[in-house]
Amino acid sequence: MADVPISPRAMTRPAALGRTLDLWRQGDAIQRLALLTGILLVLVAVAAPLLSPHGPLDQSLLNRLAPPIGFERYRPGYFLGTDELGRDILSRMLYGLRLTLSLAFLGSIIGLIVGAIMGLVAGLFGGICEDIIMGAVDTQIAIPFTLIALLFLAIFGSSLLVMVCVLGLYGWEQYARIVRGEVKRLKTLPFVEAAHAAGATNMRIARAHILPNIVSPLVVQFTLSFSNIVLLESTLSFLGLGVQPPTATLGSMVGVGRDYMPTAPWIVVVPALAILAVTFAVQILGDWLRDRADVRLRSR
């Protein structure tokens, strides 16, 4: 009777700061850099209105296409130069970063909730419910999501709301698969059977015994899917199908700026570098978290 697993009731959660410190101590140089970059990007995005020297939409036609600091024709006050309408690139980049991160975060959350519920339903009830949901999962895995996104955006037009919905549709199938698998595994464990025997409803079992146990794989999947959603949003906005001008995300700044690339490359280079910073940080952090979770799985 040594190994009867007991339901780890909502573990006492160490403060987010404590966890981050933990992560920092275990990381190598690149991972620490990614962690720092990630934290910095989030802080900058949150504080965008405070940090921006200008409004993201403020035009100053006299200062059009000014280069960044250090080049000739630099206009004081516009550190990273201006675009074709004299808008400050630094400010637009900060706001664009803010929008990119918020869109990706919203999209990931929606995908997580939808996927988790689907997986929970499929795993707990089984039968025809499970067949339909897993059929939908298989279909979505088989079709490249970019195609689905193109169809959606063409039909419903490009607005922030549609964009959030499209991004939310991404990745739910991964969560559903994970949750369903875990639920089916957990369902056979003694503590769930015991809860059943004690007369707990399905709802209560899902909430009190299953959910706390699948948090960790979901967190890992969340990080991975977050990085893909950042990519997807940037790509769609780059193609002109995402967020519409004058509002900018990092992707649409690169997309629109392409026309000015020969004469004013900074319009494109600055947001492109910002995208690289985001994808590097998110990718490395996601991989790192997955490796840590794997280690934990192996030691079980």
Binding site: T139, A142, I143, T146, L150, L151, L241, V254, V268, Q283
Partner: protein, 308 residues
């Protein structure tokens, strides 16, 4: 083997039917496309005429049946924008797309498999870690960012390469690299891991013990066994990534392929083209999945005989 193929085919056919239905349902959700394509100054009579012309006055069920029927006629309706049969519009895009896809896959295989094998063999030296660091960093570079930087450097600053179109071999260089970047990074990492798994197996020690040279051990026993897992990734991941990549890369370089057509018809709301394009690309991806499943069966007798 036959029942194995039949099962794979049945699953794919079902998925395909779902795709067709979804593509149809999606484009009918948005009201009347005539309002988008014909613009403002249209008289009532002309509008009614156009609606009749495109068959939009019939009931949804009739339209769905006509849509399904068009698959057997090989017509697929008329493009709203080009006023030509969709099949013609899409067909002339296939070859350029295929060319770009093939050159990208060739580049990916030529680079990532040797690199992955090397990274696995020299996993403890600086060569291995250098390869893996590069693969890791490249995996985080979105293809449109890679393309943008390449255009900036090689087209505008150095003036070496053309940006637009597919006229000569020089036109292939940047789109191919832009498409392959992520694929190479991903497949290198994957090949290394698959090789590492195999290198640790007992039969590798046996192969060495019976006196094979290191090259023979690695290629005949190592890579051959790793190739099964590598193959599945090529089929499943690469097909999806390449479809997504071609949409972006073809748009950037104005490559006259299906990806560029899809984006253009999404922006112009040319539903018949978009619909059929999505179905065609999905079908291609699904077909590749089936082929990989089957190839998988050939490569691994355990799967073929249903013993795995």
């Amino acid at each position: 083997m036959l029942s194995y193929i039949a099962r794979a085919a049945a699953r794919i056919l079902l998925t395909f039917l779902v795709v067709i239905t979804l593509a149809f349902a999606a484009t009918r959700l948005s009201g009347n496309p005539i309002d988008y394509i014909a613009g403002q100054g249209l008289t009532q009579e002309d509008r009614a005429l156009l609606i009749r012309y495109y068959g939009l006055d019939r009931s949804v069920a009739e339209q769905y049946l006509a849509f399904l029927k068009s698959f057997f006629d090989g017509e697929f309706g008329l493009s709203y924008v080009e006023r030509r049969p969709v099949s013609v519009v899409v067909a002339e895009r296939i070859w350029p797309s295929l060319q770009l896809l093939l050159s990208s896959v060739a580049l990916t295989l030529a680079l990532s498999i040797p690199l992955g094998v090397l990274a696995a063999i020299w996993r403890n030296s600086w060569v291995g870690s250098a390869i893996m660091s590069f693969a890791f960093l490249f995996y985080a570079v979105p293809n449109f960012v890679l393309a943008t930087f390449m255009i900036l450097v090689f087209a505008y600053w150095l003036n070496w390469l053309p940006v637009v179109g597919n006229g000569s071999w020089a036109h292939f260089i940047m789109p191919t690299i832009a498409m392959s970047g992520i694929l190479i990074a991903g497949l290198t990492r994957f090949t290394r891991n698959a090789m590492l798994d195999v290198l640790g197996q007992d039969f590798m020690r046996t192969a060495r013990a019976k006196g094979l040279t290191e090259t023979e051990v690695i290629f005949r026993h190592g890579l051959r066994n790793a190739s099964i897992t590598i193959l599945s990734v090529i089929g499943l991941q690469v097909a999806g990534l390449a479809a997504a990549g071609s949409v972006v890369v073809e748009s950037i370089f104005s490559w006259p392929g299906i990806g560029e057509l899809l984006v253009r018809s999404a922006i112009l709301r040319d539903y018949p083209v978009l619909q059929f394009g999505v179905i065609a690309v999905s079908a291609a991806v699904l077909l590749i999945n089936v082929l990989v499943d089957i190839a998988y069966g050939f490569a691994d007798p355990r799967i073929r005989f249903g013993k795995a």
